[in-house]
């Protein structure tokens, strides 16, 4: 018997209006590739899925050449058997549209569809993602395949989800083929309408780049110097958009034929730079995400939490964890395996942060191909293994947590995350190569995580009224409209914390008028006279502006000359090129306040504390940093990442996984997870 039915009607409901689905509880399972195995293994698979409590698998994700062995000739017979077997076992099916794997025959028939790198190399077959997203032949073939697949499986009772493509953006992002050149010109014509508008937006007056005809415009291919940054930015927008068009093409077909089956495609939230997921999130019925630990990175469970929080924010509510790993991955330099308990902690942290599923790549480890050393639910060692026993135990845990499914996570603090600002910041020839988007974002997220503050992520133009504090760790690009939004938020009583080199350029990488930071001068109550990037490894001391000028840590990477115009200095630079000048300021504006930190500190907690207090953000005290603490839908998740037991005071309620009644405190064992239904 199934542990429950997933309810898919949660995710993007508020934004997309999707209705449907009948499953409830936490989905459990993973990618399933029966095509790699003989029939006897299929029988064993079904038996083992039942043993582990698996209730959802994704199939067919790379099955194009099996579904369409020759042009236009479809064959789903092999798949019918699998789907029927799963259904008979009570396992629901996420059906992949296998368009990330164009068959070799397709590439031979349409050689112009093979992608071209920025350097001009044409990609060959033998990998995956071997078709340009702008190729009309490719698009047509995917539409036909999606149609055939949907018509074949429409009404099948096991069909619960459409899993379109796989990880748009990886490994194929930008394509520089001739088709892309034409498509880019078309995109630009639609975006700018007339050429003077494009020349203005791109600042082609610089270096004499003015275009006099649309057909002069090229993709920003390899150059011996820096290519126009606005052209690069638009090509990134175009690229994200072309892939999204490919998705929409299939989604519309699938919605038409099977209106009650939700459509998703798996994101890689924090780790995919090339897709603007704010735009994507609006288009899917369910937001789903893949996450893999960066094996050698200390504190990689914090990166996991960040990925989950960003995914939840994209979804605007619950979401699906589409892929993670039971143990080692295979594509990192050193694929460190998970320690005992780590897979359980990872899985439950995703659930705590809003996932309604725990799915893995993959059900059974491949014996061949590029990823055979990737871990799986059924490892190479088979079922007489710790990994399999942990998989079975996790299935039981998740059955107990069915009541959490569909529940919300509430955050009082938001981090501003904008893919387009990421793109712009990391183009060439910025003042310092050390100022990177993820580095700053990670530092601020980690500071809040260690303070046990749950955060959402927001686009800078989003409605911020629900948050006590909004933090912008890296917001180099900021449109006028978004700047106005931030200012309005503060004036209405919000609290805004901004880190250095933000608000510098508009959507075309043009510096805002007047002194830096043009888009934020007013809300921050200051201007910046000159940037003073630091040398590699250089630090500058900071001192608080209190009575005795106490030390306030040290800045790295960046210093600048801040000139207050309404703001007051909380800290000053005590050394370096801006010694004696403000380093950290506060500006009271309307009913709210704005903070500005003019350098990059390793740990921003000292600076954030005052803003958290002023904003009235409550957070637990006396809980060690190794303990992750999140609330979801009346449930308190306590995840102990340390090697010692941790006692959390004030916990009252029933332990969902252990059945213990907690009254006023709970001790979480080393490496353990306690979930309490709070009373």
């Amino acid at each position: 018997m199934l542990p429950g039915f997933l309810t898919f009607d949660y995710c993007a409901r508020s934004q997309n209006g999707y209705r449907g689905g009948t499953m409830r509880g936490i989905a459990y399972g993973g990618d399933y590739n029966p095509e790699q195995w003989p029939e006897e293994t299929h029988r064993e698979d079904l038996r083992l899925m039942r043993e582990a409590g698996v209730n959802l698998v994704n199939i067919g994700i790379f099955g194009w050449v099996l579904m369409e062995p020759s042009p236009g000739a479809y064959d789903f017979g092999w798949l019918d058997e699998i789907v029927d077997g799963l259904h008979a076992t009570g396992v629901r099916v996420g059906l992949g549209t296998p368009t990330a794997a164009p068959p070799a025959w397709f590439s031979r028939l349409h050689p112009a569809s093979l992608p071209v790198t920025r350097e001009g190399h044409r990609i060959g077959v033998g990998g995956r993602e071997s078709a340009c997203p702008s190729s009309p032949e490719y698009r047509e073939a995917t539409a036909n395949l999606a149609t055939a697949l949907a018509e074949h499986y429409a009404g099948h009772p096991a069909l619960s989800l459409w899993h379109v493509h796989n990880e748009y953006g990886a490994p194929l992002g930008e394509c520089y083929c001739d088709t892309s050149v034409l498509a880019f010109r078309g995109w630009l014509r639609r975006a700018y309408r007339d050429l003077p508008a494009l020349n203005d937006a791109w600042g082609t007056a610089f270096w004499g780049q003015r275009y006099t005809d649309w057909d002069e415009i090229d993709v920003p291919r390899v150059n011996h110097t820096v290519v126009n940054p606005a052209q690069r930015l638009d090509f990134m927008r175009f690229t994200s958009g072309e892939h999204l068009d490919c998705f929409r093409l299939q989604r519309d077909i699938l919605r038409r034929i099977t209106p009650s089956v939700p459509v998703t495609t798996n994101f890689m939230s924090t780790n995919c730079k090339s897709m603007d997921y704010w735009a994507w999130a609006r288009e899917v019925d369910v937001v789903s995400n893949d996450h893999y630990l960066q094996a050698e990175r200390p504190g990689n469970h914090i990166d996991l939490a960040m990925s989950a929080d960003l995914t939840r924010s994209l979804a605007g509510g619950p979401w699906m964890l589409m892929e993670h790993s039971t143990g080692a991955v295979n594509w990192q330099p050193r694929n460190i395996a998970k320690r005992p308990g780590e897979m359980r902690r990872n899985s439950l942290a995703h659930v705590a942060r809003g996932s309604d599923s725990v799915l893995f790549f993959q059900w059974r480890a491949s014996r061949f191909g590029a990823e055979k050393f990737h871990s799986a639910m059924v490892p190479q060692a088979g079922t007489d293994s710790r990994m399999w026993r942990d998989v079975v135990a996790l299935g039981a845990d998740l059955a107990e947590l069915a009541e959490v499914a569909g529940g919300a996570v509430r955050a009082e603090v938001a981090l501003v995350w904008d893919w387009q600002s990421w793109w712009a910041l990391e183009l060439e020839w910025r003042p310092s190569a050390d100022l990177a988007f993820r580095e700053r974002m990670d530092a601020y997220y980690e500071a809040l995580w260690r303070s046990h503050v749950t955060v959402d992520f927001v686009h800078p133009a989003a409605d911020l009224s629900g948050y006590r504090l909004v933090v912008a760790p890296s917001l180099y690009l900021l449109t006028e409209a978004a700047a106005k939004n931030l200012r309005g938020y503060v004036e209405a009583g919000g609290h805004l914390f901004v880190s250095c080199f933000s608000g510098i350029v508009d959507e075309h990488d043009t510096v805002h008028d007047g002194p830096y930071p043009g888009a934020l001068r007013e809300v921050l109550g200051l201007s910046v006279e000159e940037f003073h990037p630091l040398r590699e490894g250089e630090t500058v001391a900071l001192s608080s502006a209190g009575s005795a000028a106490e030390a306030a840590g040290e800045g790295r990477v960046w210093s600048e000359r801040v000139r207050p115009a309404g703001a007051r200095a909380l800290w000053s630079f005590a050394g370096g090129p801006d010694a004696g000048h403000p380093a950290f300021t506060r500006h009271d504006l309307g009913a709210g306040a704005a903070w500005y930190l003019a350098t990059a500190v390793a740990d921003p907690r000292a600076a954030l504390e005052g803003a958290l207090d002023a904003a009235g953000v409550d957070r637990p005290r006396g809980v060690p940093e190794t303990l992750e603490l999140v609330r979801r839908a009346g449930h308190l998740f306590l995840i102990n990442h340390g090697d010692e037991p941790v006692t959390v005071p004030g916990v009252t309620g029933r332990g969902v996984l252990d059945g213990v009644e907690y009254a006023g405190g709970a001790t979480v064992p080393a490496g353990g997870v306690t979930v309490v239904r709070e009373s």
Copy 2:
């Protein structure tokens, strides 16, 4: 009113016979890009130029597409307004021929003109320098444009300088397109006349590379192994020559139409490896130079001095500083801003070393494009800024220094600098990858700078009779003729100091006959039996050959077995593969002497001291290393790069900038500059 009139008839007069020009004093200003700004900003620009004492700006440098918006249709109306406005304000005009910025329409019309990299990638539009210098269509278009531009502005009273192209060699040096292949063959036919001569020169007997037809010869494109080094060398000569031909084509047109307006193109003296500026310097009316600090390098003011001295040597007298920066540049990994006083020190150091101008890239900071984070005279922060105030003050300083313009700098010591030796040394497969041209050149220049010795740079075949000491830090390639020149110099009483791995090959990278160093054995009075390059980080102790074999520092990178044949050992290797054998020798020959240092030392001062003494080179004693001391035309420039005031004894005369009368000594404040008209 102008602070003076620049006199342009100084620079290359001796060598090129140019006569003309009417300006006097120090030119002050920079690159001006009005096309990036609306008219109201133009009016502000003129007001501010007057405020700062600007008297020369360079315009139109990237204006091709504006001057010729479609093939053959010229439009200078927009520029007329600018030029007239400048003239009315008393600002002279350096007019750029904008051939470094072929329009996008040109590339579309002539796609074969787009350059190709060594790896075979065709460069796209969207950057700059997007045309192969050998392209006949490109050359024709530049000739037509230069003609139209010169005819339009001939006789305009503001026109004071032709600024042809921009920084030939950067970013485009070598081009590997099909046109280049044909042009290279043509160049080779003219250079060698018959194929056996080429086969001999290139040593094609090695690896069986003999050519039997001119059409078999290719450009030295990417290979899986090392390409024939003589072919590489000739391709480098060809490349420098093709760009120079492009310059000459325009220059001849400009000279014909406006014979009284001097023609220049901006060099990047020490920092451009690909152009042989000894050849270029003969072709310009005025030598001009761009220099940017390597922001993170300690002692980068010494690199500045070296660039200035090399430029003066190329000019054979005064020259123009065409570009430097008021603060940070934008294209380095960390664009460190200049400290207070640093821009002034930099500017006056250039003047002290022979520049008759202080020009900046750029007048006003761009708001868009690839270089918007580059500093400017009018920064993003506007005129309420330290930078602008410093710009205004510098203008006043330069007005005071008008009397220095046109004045000479005298040096008793010369450093041998040969681009072709640089090229050859840094081809693949030399005995040690650690022996680099600039590393050795910098070490010797810095040693002499710290000893307050002003130096010229010379080509090895130049007339050396005016120098007491000639130093060759890195002279791997040396022709028979140049070797004879060096020998004649010594025999006639000169003093020659040579560093290791010099005089090894001829102009075709062929090892000279007999033991190393074939071209220098006789003058140095020794031969080298075997090279013994050291391991990474390995050092060898050196001992002086005095009574007690005192320590004489340590060698790095290189050791070798020196066999004296007339020379006597001053120092020996005290360790390493040549322990007990000579490391530093002196050979008395004719009326002079030749020194040889058989290893690379970090600081060659200890070795140079004896040669400086023997040669009778006078230099100030007791002046700290942080103080830069140079004389130009009866003026003593004292530039204090340190954080403490420095007192220089024996200074007598009037302070030009401070009006102080110095009698027997001057104290230069920390970071300050004192210029004394010596009496």
Copy 3:
């Protein structure tokens, strides 16, 4: 008079049945390139060869364009003079077929023959090896040239050896041109016969890569992700095979026309990854090898010994040292020269390990071209040099050692070396990037060398019955058949020592069935539940399973969960992810035993000792590690690599080089070599 006649009928006799040759003694000489020199130098060369005792030189290796100056027009006149001169001087001739140097005219005539890199760059002329091995035009031209050359010199009394091509595999290994695509498809058709077999072998079910037509298959060109590993492996096999086909084509012609002249091509045994020399060794009449010291590597004489032992193992007996250097090479970053005595030690170490020749690249140093800084027998410094004196002395030594020629070296221990396992291990996406073939191979070879144990190398499927101990340091890929061979060896009484991550995949990079290590589970008596690769720099303590759990060193790179199934633990992991579990095991099976070390230790001697003892491998005790000790054909070679004299006990016999009678001991001077004919 010659010091003897080389006997070429030794080498591959056992395997290839070659009979012929009349030379005896040790061949001495090198590559000779008279085409680079005028006639007077030729006369000096002959005089000097006689002085040095040179008796064999290789000529014509890059002489194609001289032999065939235009298509089909052969000219050997210039060579006749050389060959006749050598013959008159008593120097035998190895005649090169110069097919590694296609003339520029050939490339112009057949541009499609130019190789293409994996990234798609077409290689130009100006280097060497500029033809794709699959090019039919190239093959035809080489066949015609070999025919003409052989017919011309057939019967010439000086002709003693055919030296076909030069270093197949360097610099040209893989080629990605269109011809290669077609050739690869043909190779695959022959290898797999039908497409389903290929799809199965390549695991194309993964990532949907199934091929439906042979013409869909491409070479594994550059991709944005990992290309199918089995495709990569087959392309490596194809590449080695295409070059080998080129060799065979010439060899068959040469054998037909001059049946009594042995044919070879020079290998680069340990240093060429791309050629599967086990296959090549079967095809040559004489195995020959090039070896160059890795100049900066400490203990590079151990690498030399390894290269010699591998070459001897390929030959199955004596072999020829075709190239090494008298001093510095020219293609390393720092080309460290040899110390006094080092060339002699190197040369005699090769002889001690089975070489019947001491040949150098090159006779006389080139004055031009890419390798002019490479050392030679006649250096740039000429004959008044230590190098020349050492060359003459070495000639005399080798004359004394004539009696060793043709003699065998016996080893009781074998190291398993399989190129195909090397290829597979180092493809992308393995569990740890730190686990490299050569690193492990070097560590084990060095451990045995320092224990004075002489080893052979073997293919895993070879007859192992002659060895007491077989060690497999890195055997990731292992076929079923080879696994069976190893098991049979142990059952029959052999001793097998296996290092971690061995026996994982079959010949198509498919994981063997069941838990790791599928191909070795039974013989090792264990399985591995999960791999636990370590972090960069991480170590894990090891403890011996004795009474008090003594320390047994530390593991690096790798840890894994070993589950014994018959094996017993000798050591355990004392830390890390597998603390408390077996790290080093022994399994007694049949009459033999198998050891398994589940981590990578820096020095495996502690682990090897027990296996050496159990296998009854005798080795000298009390001899310092700096002394190399090898026996060949009744001669004991004692090579002292240290800076102190070393006394070796128990040495009795006559010193061949020094004439001393040793009775019970010999003292070898620092840096010296003693060869004793043992009595």
